[in-house]
């Protein structure tokens, strides 16, 4: 029992560290990638090739003056970014990072913090709480721009959550009616990844993920041309850092969710043949690690796609955003759900 708790603690710490590390280096890579797409060099002064830039940025954030406006609600003002960061980190708990492995003593350990059987619902729930972080932060600032940004953020997230939820329902139908993330990933073990059965669903999910993480072209909440700084106008120092940083963690987690849902997570083509060729036994830790590597590669690719989209597309207008969410994505996701149910019925995966 103690070893179980210690192991889970270790996994928690590792995933926490990976989330923060990836988010930190996403900030650097975002700038580098933008620079490459614009024929520039990007930050390259801090350390060799600029790899110490995230540390420099973080250090700068820590030493900035901390301003809490007099007219703000002090408790909620601090609660906002904390909640946003907390929910961003909480979503990582149900993601299966690799296959289970068995030690020589016969104990089985999993590369996941917890595999709850309603993992998908948990994800949606935690992501929804994330809206409160922005909403509370924007409202507690007692600034009309912050409030407008927060209202935009929350209405945008709520609108896109519907289409996202329906596309996830279609995905669950495809992967055999399970709400556990591990089982969704395992269902793609044999045969093909879900993207083959859910191309439209993936597209809807991807667009919604962009909107949920407040990334361009849906970064209306922090539209500086209209709203000064959006919901974090009044924030400074590390509280602002938390808001910006949580966005990158959200990006990392949503990339992980997309690769788990639609691209087979830690599975990859010809995995069994590869393990057989190397001579790895079922349950070896190396299989788990190789699977984790494959999963991580997919996540990195998705993070790059997120950035690629950001540095290509201009920002939406707010009415266009709402039109897309309610008049295009919602009907499309319903259509996708209908088609999925019909297809799965004829494939024999649905029994009444």
């Amino acid at each position: 029992m103690l070893s179980f708790i210690l192991y889970k603690l270790l996994v928690c710490i590792i995933i926490f560290a990976i989330s923060l590390g990836v988010a930190a280096y996403s900030t650097l890579w975002e700038r580098k990638f933008a620079a490459f797409l614009q024929d520039r060099v990007g930050p390259d002064r801090a350390g060799p090739k600029g790899i110490l830039q995230p540390l420099a940025d973080g250090g700068k954030m820590f030493f900035k003056e901390e301003i809490i406006p007099n007219v703000s609600n002090r408790f909620l003002f601090i609660l906002g970014p904390s909640l946003f960061m907390l929910t961003a980190l909480m979503t990582g708990t149900v993601i299966p990072w690799g296959k289970d492995f068995t030690t020589a003593a016969g104990n089985t350990y999993s590369f996941q913090i917890t595999d709850i059987n309603i993992g998908v619902l948990y994800l949606l729930g935690v992501v929804s709480i994330g809206v409160y972080g922005i909403m509370i932060g924007g409202w507690a600032s007692n600034n009309k721009y912050a409030l407008l940004g927060a209202i935009r953020a929350s209405s945008q997230m709520i609108s896109y959550e519907i289409a996202m939820g329906i596309s996830i329902i279609a995905l669950i139908v495809t992967s055999g009616g399970t709400l556990s993330l591990r089982e969704i990933v395992e269902s793609q073990d044999e045969g093909v990844a879900n993207i083959v059965w859910q191309p439209l669903g993936f597209l809807i999910f991807f667009v919604c993920a962009l909107a949920e993480t407040n990334r361009a072209p849906f970064d209306l909440p922090e539209c500086e041309a209209e709203l000064v700084g959006g919901y974090h106008t009044e924030y400074s120092s590390m509280k602002l850092g938390l808001f910006l940083f949580a966005e990158y963690i959200n990006m990392f987690i949503s990339s992980a969710i997309m690769s788990a849902f639609y691209f087979g997570g830690y599975n990859f083509p010809f995995a069994k043949e590869l393990y057989h060729a190397i001579g790895l036994q079922e349950g070896s830790i190396w299989i788990s690690l190789i699977g984790f590597g494959a999963f991580f590669t997919k996540i990195i690719i998705f993070i790059n796609v997120f950035m690629w989209v950001r540095w290509t597309l201009p920002r939406f207008r707010y009415d266009q955003l709402m039109n897309l969410g309610w008049k295009v994505l919602l009907p499309l996701s319903l259509l996708n759900l209908g088609i999925t149910i019909v297809v799965e019925y004829f494939r024999g995966n649905i029994h009444f």
């Binding site: 620079a35 490459f36 797409l37 614009q38 024929d39 060099v41 690629w308 989209v309 540095w311 290509t312």
Partner: protein, 199 residues
């Protein structure tokens, strides 16, 4: 009535179904941006790399000494007259006995100041100079904290004996001959050699 052929017919036709999908346009845009990932950046990483400068770049001035180390400037004031920005001021003084190794001629500039904030680096001062004394160089004027520090005196302008400044690229034969024709017998040296021609 049509005046020119430049008017365009404006179309307000609705988007086609393909255009309404947006995805082809989005993908086209993304293919354009990703193609720039493989292009060379034109950036020069400045402090480490420097772009080559022209041999006749007009930067910070220098007051030349002659081959014996005596200052060539005689404080005639032609540069100050030529200067369109009125950046140059000077005071002249008479050479005393025993200073022949310091100043080439009987008159010299006691003070010589160029205000680098006024200077437009046009190069008219070096063109006006009959003594081949002032030249612009390829050095960049440094940034300063105070405006007063931009007024460069003789301490900064006159070239140091141990750090002579090469101006041969701008002091071409053609320039030297042109100045000679302008009629001064002192400008008979070009790169230390005697120029042949009428005086």
């Amino acid at each position: 009535m049509q005046l020119t052929n430049r008017s365009k017919i404006v179309s307000d036709k609705h988007q086609t179904a393909m255009e309404k999908l947006y995805l082809p346009a989005v993908l086209k845009g993304m293919s354009i941006t990703i193609s720039h990932l493989f292009k060379r950046t034109p950036t020069t990483k400045y402090p480490e790399q420097k772009r080559p400068m022209s041999g006749v770049y007009r930067g910070q001035h220098v007051l030349k000494r002659d081959e014996n180390g005596a200052e060539r400037c005689t404080a005639c004031g032609l540069c100050a007259v030529a200067c369109p920005a009125e950046a140059i001021t000077m005071e002249s003084a008479e050479r005393k006995k025993g200073e022949e190794h310091l100043y080439r001629e009987e008159k010299y500039a006691k003070t010589y100041e160029i205000n680098m904030l006024r200077c437009i680096f046009c190069g008219l001062c070096e063109e006006a100079c009959p003594k081949e004394a002032i030249f612009l160089t390829d050095r960049i004027v440094d940034a300063e904290y105070e405006r007063d520090d931009f007024v460069y005196g003789k301490d900064k302008l006159v070239e140091k004996m141990d750090k002579r400044i090469d101006v041969t690229k701008r002091q071409t034969l053609a320039v030297a001959q042109f100045k000679q024709i302008a009629g001064t017998k002192h400008n008979t040296l070009w790169n230390g050699k005697q120029i042949k021609g009428k005086h």
